[in-house]
C-alpha cells in the first residue's frame, strides 16, 4: 500500500499558496479540521477561497482564518453565528457565495466523481437560478449546476490508516468524505492513525485513493455550538 503519512499539520499545509481554492469539511463546528486550521493560521498567506458548509464562529474554526483576514471568499450554505464575518461582508472586505446545502454537497460530489454538470430542482424560480440553464424533465423544472474541485481539500476523520483509508464518527462525517475526492490534494487529519490492516475493508467510509496526506491530529477541542440536554 502507498504510504500517505506526513509528520503533522504544519507539514501538511506547508505548500498551500496565497489565493488557493480550498474545501474544508465540517458542519457547524462538528468534524472540522482543527489542527490544519491552526497550522494555516501560522502561514503567511491570504486571499483564500474556502468552500465549507458554514464559516465557523468568531473565535473558532474558519472564524479564526476570517479574523486574520486570510479569506477572500466563502462559498457556503449558511454563515450565521459569526459577527466578524458579518462585519467584513458589510464592509465589502469579504465575498460570499451562498449555495443551497444539497446543491453544494452534490457539486462537491460531482467534482470528485468526474461529473462536470448535473441538474437539480433546488432553487428553481429563486435568485439561485439567475443566469443558470433551466430544463424540464418529466414535467418538472431543474437547474444545471456544475461540479466543484479544489486545489486542496482539508478534512477531519475519526480513524485513518497510513494508506489514507478513513472512518468518520457520528454526524462529524458530513461533507468530509465528498470533499476528500474533490481536492486535487486531500489532506486528512485523524484522531487516531493506525497501521494498514487495522481497519475493516468493508467499513471504510473514504477509500485512500482520494487522500494524498494524512496525519494524527492533537488536542481536539471539539467545541459545541448548542449544548442541548434533556432533564
Amino acid at each position: 500500500m502507498i504510504n500517505k503519512t506526513v509528520k503533522d499539520a504544519h507539514e501538511a499545509v506547508a505548500d498551500i499558496p496565497t489565493g488557493a481554492f480550498l474545501m474544508m469539511g465540517g458542519f457547524g463546528l462538528s468534524g472540522i479540521p482543527e489542527n490544519c486550521i491552526s497550522a494555516l493560521l501560522q502561514r503567511d498567506i491570504k486571499d483564500l477561497t474556502i468552500v465549507s458548509n458554514n464559516a465557523g464562529v468568531d473565535d473558532f474554526g474558519i472564524g479564526l482564518l476570517l479574523k486574520k483576514r486570510m479569506v477572500k471568499k466563502m462559498i457556503s450554505s449558511y454563515v450565521g453565528e459569526n459577527a466578524e464575518f458579518e462585519r467584513q461582508l458589510l464592509q465589502g472586505e469579504l465575498e460570499v457565495e451562498l449555495i443551497p446545502q444539497g446543491t453544494l454537497a452534490e457539486r462537491v460530489r460531482a467534482g470528485g466523481a468526474g461529473i462536470p454538470a448535473f441538474f437539480t430542482p433546488a432553487g428553481v424560480g429563486t435568485e439561485v437560478a439567475e443566469g443558470k440553464e433551466i430544463r424540464e424533465f418529466d414535467g418538472k423544472q431543474y437547474l444545471m449546476e456544475t461540479g466543484l474541485k479544489a486545489d486542496f481539500s482539508i478534512i477531519k476523520a475519526w480513524k485513518g490508516d497510513t494508506a489514507g483509508n478513513l472512518i468518520f464518527k457520528g454526524t462529524a462525517r458530513n461533507f468530509n468524505p465528498i470533499m476528500a475526492a474533490a481536492g486535487k490534494i486531500c489532506i486528512a487529519e485523524v484522531e487516531e492513525l493506525v497501521e494498514i490492516g487495522e481497519l475493516d475493508p468493508n467499513q471504510i467510509h473514504t477509500p485512500g485513493i482520494y487522500v494524498q496526506r494524512i496525519f494524527e491530529g492533537r488536542n481536539y477541542e471539539k467545541r459545541i455550538e448548542q449544548r442541548t440536554v434533556s432533564n
Binding site: 458542519f27 457547524g28 463546528l29 462538528s30 468534524g31 458548509n53 457556503s76 450554505s77 449558511y78 454563515v79 450565521g80 458579518e86 461582508l89 458589510l90 451562498l98 443551497p100 446545502q101 444539497g102 446543491t103 453544494l104 454537497a105 452534490e106 462537491v108 460530489r109 437539480t120 430542482p121 433546488a122 432553487g123 428553481v124 424560480g125 429563486t126 435568485e127 439561485v128 475519526w158 468518520f168 464518527k169 457520528g170 454526524t171 462529524a172 462525517r173 458530513n174 461533507f175 468530509n176 468524505p177 465528498i178 467510509h205 471539539k222 467545541r223 459545541i224 455550538e225 448548542q226 449544548r227 442541548t228 440536554v229 434533556s230
Partner: protein
C-alpha cells in the same frame, strides 16, 4: 390563538405511520414532542442522520453528534449515519415523505419565502431550497401575521422566495389552511376562539371558505 407548542401539536396530527420526516429549526422541531408513540416514524437530520433521538443527558453529550440546528442529540436503535451528499440524495430523490418548516411568507400558489430579508445580513438558505424543491408534502408552521400586524399569507411573496408552488398546508396561530392547486388558501380549521371573520381580515391572499369551518380539536 395558538401558542408555538400548540401549532406543533396540531401539525403532529398530519404525521402518518411509516413516514420519514425532516423537521426544520424552531416550531417544526417541537413537532417531535407531539408525535404519538403509536406511530412509527423516522426523523431525518440533513447533516447526516436518520433516526434522531431525544436530547442527551448531560453525561452523554457528544460533540460528534448534532442535528442540523447544531444542537447535541442522541441516536435511536436502528439509526443510521451518512454523508451530506447521501443526505440530500434522500431528500432530492423523494425518499423523505414530509418536510415541516417555518416561513416568513407564503403565497396563495404555494411559494414560500424563508431565507432572506433585503437590507438585512443574509445568513444563507442552508438546506431549505433543496427540501422545498423535493419533498412530496410540505407543511409550513408560521405566525399568521407579522409583529406589526401585517398578513404573511399573501397573493405573492414580497421577499425573495425559497421555492415555488411547493407548500401544501399551513398551520398558523390562527388557522389550518391548504394551498389549492389552482391557487388560494382553503380554510380548513380555525384556532379555538378565532372567528372566520378574523382569519379573513388577516389573510391578504385569496382565502377560500367551503361551508362550515370547524374549530381545531386537540386531544
Amino acid at each position: 390563538m395558538l401558542s408555538k407548542n400548540q401549532i406543533a401539536q396540531r401539525i403532529a396530527k398530519e404525521v402518518k405511520n411509516g413516514q420519514y420526516i425532516n423537521l426544520g429549526i424552531g416550531i417544526p422541531t417541537l413537532v417531535a414532542n407531539y408525535i404519538p408513540d403509536s406511530l412509527e416514524v423516522v426523523l431525518q437530520s440533513e447533516n447526516g442522520l436518520l433516526g434522531i433521538g431525544p436530547f442527551p443527558k448531560e453525561e452523554d453529550v457528544d460533540p460528534d453528534l448534532i442535528n442540523a440546528g447544531k444542537q447535541t442529540i442522541t441516536m435511536l436503535k436502528g439509526s443510521v449515519l451518512f454523508n451530506s451528499a447521501e443526505s440530500f440524495a434522500m431528500i432530492r430523490g423523494g425518499h423523505v415523505h414530509l418536510t415541516i418548516l417555518g416561513a416568513m411568507e407564503v403565497s396563495e400558489n404555494g411559494d414560500i419565502a424563508n431565507w432572506k430579508i433585503p437590507g438585512k445580513m443574509v445568513k444563507g438558505m442552508g438546506g431549505a431550497m433543496d427540501l422545498v424543491a423535493s419533498a412530496e408534502n410540505i407543511i409550513v408552521a408560521m405566525q399568521h401575521c407579522s409583529k406589526s400586524g401585517e398578513s404573511k399569507l399573501l397573493t405573492e411573496c414580497t421577499l425573495p422566495i425559497t421555492g415555488v408552488r411547493c407548500v401544501k398546508k399551513i398551520v398558523s396561530d390562527l388557522a389550518v389552511l391548504e394551498v389549492s392547486p389552482s391557487g388560494g388558501f382553503i380554510l380548513k380549521e380555525r384556532a379555538p376562539g378565532v372567528s372566520v371573520e378574523e382569519i379573513k381580515e388577516k389573510t391578504s391572499g385569496k382565502l377560500i371558505i367551503e361551508g362550515e369551518v370547524p374549530e381545531m380539536v386537540f386531544d
